[in-house]
């Protein structure tokens, strides 16, 4: 009996090639009425299929293993042991947590400083307005000598306070500026996580490709969920990054207002 395809490892392509040639042989044997040879061919096809399957599953397993190693996935911990290497994914989560903490701190620090500056500035404004009214009275010569003495004292006090409060607000502004240093730190962290996400994506695609070969030989077909059905309207998506490229998304408050008014709001 002569069979196409090598006897060793068989890849999906080689298996398909041998399937084609062997199928022709099978038909020939059947037409000749040589059932013994026909059964041998069927047996050979099965063997080639099995070898191909083992080979592809082996490749898939190795690739999966490599991915686990390269991302230091914490298999030990998920199997109940406490001593596992800190995985890259867990590390990325920690890093993103750090970003959340840092931005939260910066936002609160900035708001603290704004909240402590606002009343100082508003008080200075009120005092200046009151003094200006008094000054107008002086210009209209409606002021007694005693009142004028009081006014000059008030002006002197006000100038002193202005000096002190300006320094205070100016120092707060400086601190607000410094509180923006999170941008640099979080930017670096986020860039590293982006790189990791890319690596994971590539590795996953590689695994999917290999699993596809197994499916080809095994003849498995998957039912994919309809992409339209996966997202319902009330599913929150968070901030829109590409609002200008999507038709189903508004790109600002004006469009929200237009949409609502078209609905009778």
């Amino acid at each position: 009996m002569v069979l196409s395809g090598n006897a060793g490892q068989t890849t999906a392509e080689e298996f398909e090639q041998s399937l084609k040639t062997n199928a022709q042989k099978l038909v020939e044997h059947l037409e000749e009425g040589d059932y013994k040879e026909a059964v041998m061919v069927i047996h050979a096809i099965n063997q080639a299929r099995d070898r191909g399957l083992y080979y592809e599953v082996g490749k898939l397993t190795r690739a999966l293993h490599n991915s686990i190693i390269s991302f230091q996935l914490d298999t030990a911990r998920s199997f109940g042991s406490e001593h596992g290497e800190h995985s890259k994914i867990a590390d990325a989560s920690d890093r993103l947590d750090y970003v959340v903490r840092l931005t939260d701190k910066a936002a609160n620090r900035t708001m603290d400083l704004v909240e402590s500056s606002a009343p100082v500035v508003s008080q200075l404004g009120q005092e200046a307005a009151a003094l200006r009214e008094e000054w107008k009275r002086l210009q209209r010569r409606e002021m007694t000598a005693e009142e004028f003495r009081n006014l000059s004292r008030s002006i002197m006090d006000f100038l002193e306070r202005s000096e002190k409060h300006s320094a205070e607000v100016s120092s707060n502004l400086n601190d607000i500026l410094m509180a923006q240093d999170y941008q640099d730190l979080t930017g670096q962290v986020i860039k590293r996580v982006i790189t990791l996400v890319h690596d994971v994506e590539e590795s996953l695609l590689n695994l999917v490709r290999m699993a596809g070969q197994v499916d080809r030989i095994a003849g498995i077909q998957h039912e994919l969920p309809d992409p339209e059905e996966r997202k319902s309207a009330s599913q929150a998506e968070g901030p829109q990054i590409h609002a200008d490229k999507r038709d189903d998304v508004v790109s600002g408050q004006d469009e929200v207002d237009d949409l609502l008014s078209s609905l009778g709001f």
Binding site: E237, P239, L260
Partner: protein
């Protein structure tokens, strides 16, 4: 005027609280999702609700629906302040009975306008 601010991020609650204070609304309370907000609304005599959409636990749209389904709360004015910007979502919120919709990031001016508009419409009724 007692206002409840619902957002899962404390910084956003603080920003809204500050903007409301600038507009003269000093009586505010905060909740971090719908699950904590709903009992507060049911027992707190609130006059106005400002809520985010995307929150863990109970989302803003579910909170809005729960408010509209509650006999005592169903007329409470609700302003949604959210990053959710899909047309379908805005329509969904409108159908659920929202009184105003502000998309993040927003300006102090936009928030002020929407709040004033909500109250204008209530007074006109």
């Amino acid at each position: 005027m007692k206002i409840l601010i619902v957002d899962d991020f404390s910084t956003m609650r603080r920003i809204i609280k500050n903007l409301l204070r600038d507009l003269g609304f000093t009586n505010t309370a905060e909740a971090d999702d719908g699950t904590t907000a709903l009992p507060m609304l049911q027992h707190g005599n609130f006059d106005f609700l400002v809520t985010d959409w995307n929150m863990p636990g109970m989302s803003g749209i579910d909170l809005l629906r729960a408010v509209r389904a509650d006999e005592r709360l169903k007329t409470l004015p609700v302003l949604m302040v959210t990053a959710e910007a899909k047309r379908d979502q805005i329509i969904e919120a409108a159908q659920a009975g929202v009184n105003g919709y502000v998309v993040k990031p927003f300006t102090a001016q936009a928030l002020k306008e929407k709040i004033e508009k909500v109250f204008e419409r209530i007074e006109a009724k």
